[in-house]
């Protein structure tokens, strides 16, 4: 099971107000030059099918709810990867009135990938690191300590 998981990570890429620098590098991964599909990676564009959430940008206040919404719609186990300096810390936009400053102010983040823009090689390394964590991850049991399906649905509809 763990092996199949590592061999088949489906990605959801979300831009939370990035300058598109990191986004272009992320898309470059799917081209023949980097060919991420050789590791079984697919860009699914659908949170319900996705396992890995690749987020770029410093999370503007407008997009915050949408990011939570997408995260809530991804079935567990899942991994969140912050791509680039903005997504990791907010970088030049930290302290701006309209920006949260980093994905980790909104969601639990597993891997931070530095760079402005993050290089495709660095993103591949980051995904591999994320997969190592994902392999061991169990999904939360319905024992009340973790958000139940109902609260997640409420969160998703909020």
């Amino acid at each position: 099971m763990g092996r199949s998981r590592v061999k088949s990570p489906w990605i959801l890429h979300f831009d939370t107000g990035s300058c598109n620098g990191c986004d272009i590098e992320t898309w470059a991964l799917l081209t023949p030059r980097y060919d991420l599909e050789r590791f079984g990676v697919l860009n699914e564009a659908n949170p319900k099918h996705a396992d890995v959430l690749l987020v770029t940008g410093p999370v503007t206040k407008k997009v915050e709810d949408r990011l939570r919404n997408l995260y809530a719609q991804m079935p567990e186990p899942r991994v969140v990867i912050a791509v680039g300096n903005c997504a990791s810390t907010g970088s030049p936009f930290d302290d701006c009135y309209n920006v949260n400053g980093g994905i980790d102010r909104v969601l639990p983040v597993d891997v931070y990938i530095p760079g402005c823009a993050a290089r495709p090689e660095a993103i591949i390394d980051g995904i591999v690191l994320g997969l190592r964590k994902w392999r061991e991850r169990k999904f939360a049991a319905h024992d009340g300590t973790q958000p139940s399906k109902e609260t997640e649905m409420q969160e998703a509809s909020r």
Partner: protein, 281 residues
């Protein structure tokens, strides 16, 4: 023997889909995933947490799988082709109903398009089966005899049209159009039940490819199996070339072209069969 075939057929389809992804990658100058990639995907999906909109989704996903599995079981047990066709059709409709039950716009739109796909390929598939029945005088698989490929070449060609739609290939992947409506009827399924619908799709493909393999037969079992494999490989390769050489067309053109070309091919073929039965050619 039947049990082994019943288990082997979906596994073979999984491998075919893996080879398909590999060959497509090579056509695009990429390396591509390993050929057992579809199995990794399936196992991973079954290991994820269940998230469903309503219980209807579960019922329809499972009934889709059950119908397709029953149809394949009947096919490998050499039953009636017409019953195989209708069971498989019921499975396709289950998928559409499951997508309708989710109440999401993309899912709704995808299932409307899936219905149009069914409208496009089902008549062609039905006519191929009826043509086999006309040629052989029976629709029961166990009573078919001899190789039908020389007489029914154009019918085999029209099955390629069906396969382009069933394999979700350009130009007629209108229901699962990734860039337009994400993944159509599958959009609201996730985790294990997405796996169930994917497995049902493998069974569905096994049925169409199974009908294709019926067309070739030889007294020597090695030649017979080799010919069947070659026939399937040729059909899959044809769909790949079409897929990589074309962009998606509209749903209206899909229905018009598939019905027009498919029925025309079968009509010409039926004329040939009629004339040879009359002893003219």
């Amino acid at each position: 023997m039947e049990t082994i075939l019943f288990i082997l057929a979906p596994i073979a389809v999984g491998l075919i889909l893996g080879i398909d992804r590999k060959v497509t990658a090579h056509m695009q100058n990429r390396v591509g995933p390993p050929i057992i990639q579809p199995f990794y995907d399936l196992v991973k999906l079954f290991g994820k947490r269940t998230m469903v909109m309503n219980n209807g989704q579960i019922i329809f996903a499972v009934s889709c799988l059950v119908f397709q599995a029953l149809a394949l079981a009947l096919l490998v047990n050499e039953g009636d082709l017409l019953v195989v066709f209708f069971l498989s059709g019921a499975g396709s409709v289950s998928l559409v109903l499951g997508a309708f039950s989710a109440g999401s716009p993309y899912s709704f739109y995808g299932s409307q398009r899936e219905l149009l796909q069914i409208l496009a390929y089902e008549p062609v598939l039905l006519l191929v089966i009826l043509l086999i029945g006309y040629d052989q005088g029976t629709l029961t698989v166990s009573k078919l005899n001899g190789s039908m490929l020389p007489g029914l070449g154009l019918a085999a060609l029209s099955l390629v049209l069906v396969l382009v739609i069933k394999l979700q290939k350009s130009p007629y992947d209108v229901a699962t159009a990734h860039q337009e409506i994400v993944s159509g009827p599958y959009v609201e399924y996730s985790g294990p039940y997405l796996g169930v619908t994917k497995l049902a799709h493998w069974f569905e493909l096994a049925i169409v490819l199974g009908i294709l393999t019926l067309l070739f037969w030889n007294a020597n079992s090695a030649i017979s199996i080799g010919g069947k494999v070659l026939l399937v490989a040729a059909a899959i390769f044809a769909t790949q070339v079409i897929d990589n050489a074309s962009a998606r067309l509209t749903r209206g053109r899909m229905v018009r072209f598939t019905l027009f070309a498919g029925i025309a091919l079968i009509a010409v073929n039926m004329l040939g069969v009629y004339l040879s039965k009359q002893g003219v050619i």
